[in-house]
Symmetry: C2
Subunit: 502 residues, 2 copies
């Protein structure tokens, strides 16, 4: 199958140039329109060539009839009329079990909490906020600390193949704006939220917005910074972030809803919903006029098609219907829910109700985030990967731009390397199997007899950042393990897997 977007080529610059990617491409299909609740995604596996416009980082075409092993690249570019316009060829090599996969979309991550990754104490959610979260977040008034932590978070998430992240920052405008600037310069696609929390009855006196008006005006300052940084929002977008109902006064909640509607298109919104049973009781006490927790957000006008609800563990059927009716999205955070003992989210019921669901790491850094636990029927590896790519794209309202390898989509992708098969050499008493294992190559062991589907399953269950050899966002190389980058940024010149020229 050959597909070329002629329109894209026609509208590109006078002398359009391309990067050519050759090898195995694996992604999940889009859910077909009209597919019923029984639909389950399967891996789509293609071998061939795909080219990306250097001008806008979008996929300009692909040719699945081209052989990545012995195809003639020169003949291919001549056939496509790209001769002289291909600036770089990047190969995923079969013999190293390399393949291209869409970047992961982390739909819920608290950037300032990254230093507390793995520190849960014996707490549940509400204690944890008081003991660990609020003291740490309040220290981000120190912008140099924010720089150190945020730089690390971006580097770690990129290294895990996360090309897009919906970040909660802190209440501080300077530190939040810095997070936006760092994502922009490192090239990570991001939604950046300054946290709104102004309810003195719940928030600690040392860490809150002084008034409902302040929640709104400070949010506007960050929005203005992001709009000046990236006027088209091609990489960075603002997202309104009322922390969760108990931390926000009614007038802050309605003020933020109005603020969202004052933009065209309306602003993105993110918050937490029903993570924990104590939290639900608290919301019931604080908002006695609302029917349930989900209705609190709806009553204040915050349940929109651009709203991301994190966790949503304990929902009634009518809450699920309400979310579906409003077109709001859910970020499922399995690793966090399990670590904090919050409960198990009924993902399948959300999907069956027609809600779009993506995955979130919550605190970040803990691997690729495809926790695939479930209360009902266990989610398959393919469903987990679907949620981490296509599902996440829907949740951040970018389903037409990221999450797969269709022509016209942005090339937000990772190259995965599992390493050579141990038994694929002719010598059966392979010395590589006898040797002690070094840490730098990862722990996925391919023996040589696995199918591509089985290789992907091994990657999901036993892979880590060592298998993510290179990462691109909008066609720009933003992370690479096969170079020694200088200046805090992955260079575009490459040895190893990422090589120049024909």
């Amino acid at each position: 199958m050959i597909k070329v977007d002629l329109l894209l080529r026609a509208t590109a610059m006078a002398t359009p140039t391309y990067t050519l990617f050759i090898g195995t491409f694996i992604h999940l299909p889009r859910k077909p329109t009209g597919a019923d609740a029984k639909w389950r995604p399967e891996l789509e596996i293609h071998h061939g060539a795909l080219w990306v416009s250097n001008a806008d980082g979008k996929i300009a075409g692909y040719d699945w009839s081209f052989s990545p092993v012995d195809g003639d690249v020169k003949a291919l570019t001549e056939k496509l009329g790209l001769s002289g316009n291909v600036t770089e060829v990047v190969r995923a090599r079969e013999e190293r079990n390399e393949f291209f996969f869409p970047g992961f979309i982390d739909t819920h991550i608290h950037a300032p909490q990254y230093p507390n990754s793995g520190i849960f104490g014996s707490s549940t959610l509400l204690d944890w906020l008081e003991t660990y979260t609020f003291p740490l977040e309040s220290s981000f008034s120190d912008t140099s600390k924010a720089r150190a932590v945020y730089s690390r978070v971006i580097a770690r998430t990129l290294a895990n193949g996360t090309t897009t992240a919906a970040y909660f920052a802190t209440i501080h405008v300077p530190a939040t704006n810095l997070l936006a600037s760092l994502c922009h310069s490192r090239g990570q696609r991001a939604l950046i939220g300054r946290v709104c929390m102004d309810n003195p009855a719940f928030c600690p006196s040392y860490y809150l917005d002084p008034s409902p008006e302040s929640s709104v005006t400070k949010s506007k300052e960050t929005i203005a910074h992001i709009h000046s940084l990236d006027p088209e929002g091609t990489l960075i977008q603002p997202i309104l972030t009322p922390r969760f109902a108990p931390t926000c006064s009614p007038s802050a909640l309605s003020g933020l809803a109005s603020l969202a509607k004052s933009y065209n298109p309306p602003l993105h919104i993110q918050t937490h919903l029903s993570e924990n049973k104590n939290e639900i009781s608290l919301v019931r006490e604080l908002f006695p006029e609302s029917k349930d927790y989900t209705s609190v957000y709806d009553d204040f006008g915050l349940l929109t098609p651009r709203t991301i609800l994190a966790h949503a563990v304990h929902l009634s059927p009518s809450e699920r219907s309400l979310i579906a009716d409003r077109g709001a999205k859910v970020s499922h955070c399995p690793a966090s829910n399990s670590a904090l003992g919050s409960g198990i989210c009924a993902v399948r019921k959300l999907l069956d109700a027609g809600v779009q669901v993506g995955l979130g790491t919550d605190s970040g850094g803990d691997g690729e985030g495809e926790g695939v636990g479930d209360g009902e029927e266990v989610l398959s590896v393919e469903e987990g990967l679907y949620l981490a790519t296509r599902g996440g794209a829907g949740v951040v309202d970018l389903a037409g731009e990221i999450g797969g390898f269709e022509v016209g989509m942005c090339f937000d992708a990772q190259m995965v390397r599992l390493g050579p098969g141990h038994l694929s050499s002719s010598s059966s008493s392979s010395s590589s199997s006898d040797a002690p294992v070094a840490a730098e190559h990862g722990i996925v062991d391919v023996f040589g007899w696995e199918s591509w589907t089985e290789k992907v399953h091994k990657w999901v269950w036993t892979g880590d950042d060592r298998n993510v050899r290179a990462v691109w966002v909008r066609g720009r190389l933003v992370h690479s393990l096969d170079e020694t980058p200088s200046n805090g940024r992955a260079g575009s010149q490459g040895g190893g897997c990422v090589g120049w020229g024909l």
Copy 2:
């Protein structure tokens, strides 16, 4: 506190020599005799020096009043009367956040299934055996394949800090004996089980023992090999391995029970119990005379104080009591149970019933195996680590020899390195935080303000094999990331963390 085992020193060789370990030592305490069900382990953290006899690999003494940072090593060895007898000093350095921790004990691991790590398909247990397990295991009639896979399993588990493993092998005597020999030469402590399965109604025709007698005689062949390899059983012990009730005929089960009793002390036994609900129904059909699944093993004389029952997910209170009464042990395999959707083991109920519980990885290679999920109250990090060390030591009947740093115990240990703290340098805009992250150093990020307890929590939640810098079994260095080992074996000479001389 200073403690020296004078007896050990007096009975050592004419010129006893020692290896001196200096730094932070963290382990879990033994459960005090008479402690009630409310007892919870906390980390014991010591800073000082500990010395190990080179003759037998046992801890000969420690001095927790010695300062690892500025203590005078020469003065210490003079005070202890060890001058001239210390052949090596190994330091865990505070500035790299290094510490010594007991090696992990994996109480249930199928060595031949390692190539299928991460390949679960959409199967549950019984399908999985037919589709993935039996075809793979039967291929271990090829000893060269067994060598390749088993070498890899041992290297990977050592690299994860697993100093002791209770292995299921296959039905093949040559491949099983090879596994024993490889563990012996690589220095991993192991219980090695040739798998017994002779029931043609359940086992596939291409993979079973031809008769109940064959189950017994082939088991004896492996026992004889192990007894010739390691007559004292200091490192390698045999373990009788009826796969699980459905695969074994009644006469094989009783024959194996008699075989166990014919040795003094009786042989270790391992099998599976109540992993999955379909399996339980099957056992009920096949053994209608037994009261329940646990009673099947008891009725055949296989429920002994030297028996390890893997999984034990779905037990009635009377089954838990029966296990406790017989003194049999349980291997809890949280990662596997979750991946195969088998259910959640009620670990707390087992502990409360007085059953000794350890952790198992089942398929191996998937990290350090401290999955700490639970049906009831969530297990703490400390409880998970207790199960992985002290609990596991009890399960393999070596509670007096491994699992902690008491004098007289074997030095089965790992040195963990978390890496330097990012913000501990005086420069607040640390360049190390800005730089892209390289894969070789692991993903645990220490920022410099964490307590030792918090560092251990970060290690458990975000650490991996990259943080296990060196591993010792009986005082012998069996894995090291800071050397380039030759000859398929970690050398005893070292640069990096493991340095010679005073």
